[in-house]
Symmetry: C3
């Protein structure tokens, strides 16, 4: 396993996705965010199947930062229950992994 | 590991992808489907390298539903050999995981 | 775990992504490449937060081919430090897995 994770967050639109990505990059909680602006989401809500436009945000960070990232996404995201899922790559290009680690830092306690 | 999986299915176009997603949401085999409508796929077919438009469908469900989902995708998909791959998140937002579990149910036997 | 991996590579544009995919398919290092042409990437570079268009390339191959794929991506990619990350599906449609294995081969030594 690598020391990097991909965190997937679905957002209502690209503006929300990039605002969250920018904020977390500035706070050095993630190294970068990729926004896939045009997604169609199909799901059931209050008994009806919905078909809504969304955007997918993929954040790159360290496993030990998943929890702080999750909390900041909850604070910044308009949904009551946003998708926040972590995928752990099993291999990666060493220099890129080092760039992710070098671009992130554990939040100072308190 | 979480109790949720992402199931990736490549489709010839967004219409097929959303029809499969809608059917599996209605059958409560998946909680939701995200469709990335515009994908370009490059692969070899009968000795020639092909470059074709496709769409990517990402379904969210439980690991124990991978097999029923795989069978229903095969029944609904126009390809002879569709891509059906499961990725298992190693962490996730608890309320979202519960929403996926609450939106899906094991098919009744028989 | 399956005998297949997804290799994620971010590229500056769809042309670079499809050129890399085409080359690796021809060399039978990967079975296929999916290009998501329109991605927005937010990251810090030399102290400034950047917001740049990119494309995401998803390659399908075997785990034992990750290293040769990584080396060929480095040779073909314009970035100094490209993202090359491998995700390992935990389940898959058998016929599709066999297609990926049948479409790839280990490079001959030397």
């Amino acid at each position: 396993m690598t020391e990097v994770i991909l965190v997937l967050v679905t957002c209502p639109n690209p503006e929300v996705a990039s605002a969250i990505a920018r904020q977390l990059v500035e706070e050095e909680l993630v190294a970068c965010g990729n926004i896939l602006p045009t997604v169609r989401s199909i799901y059931r809500w209050q008994g009806e199947v919905q078909d809504e436009p969304e955007s997918l945000l993929i954040l790159k960070t360290r496993p030990e930062l998943f929890e702080p990232v999750r909390q900041r996404v909850l604070a910044l995201h308009p949904y009551e229950v946003p998708e926040v899922l972590s995928l752990r790559p099993d291999a990666g290009h060493r220099a890129y992994l080092d760039w992710v680690l070098g671009s992130t830092k554990l939040p100072s306690p308190g």
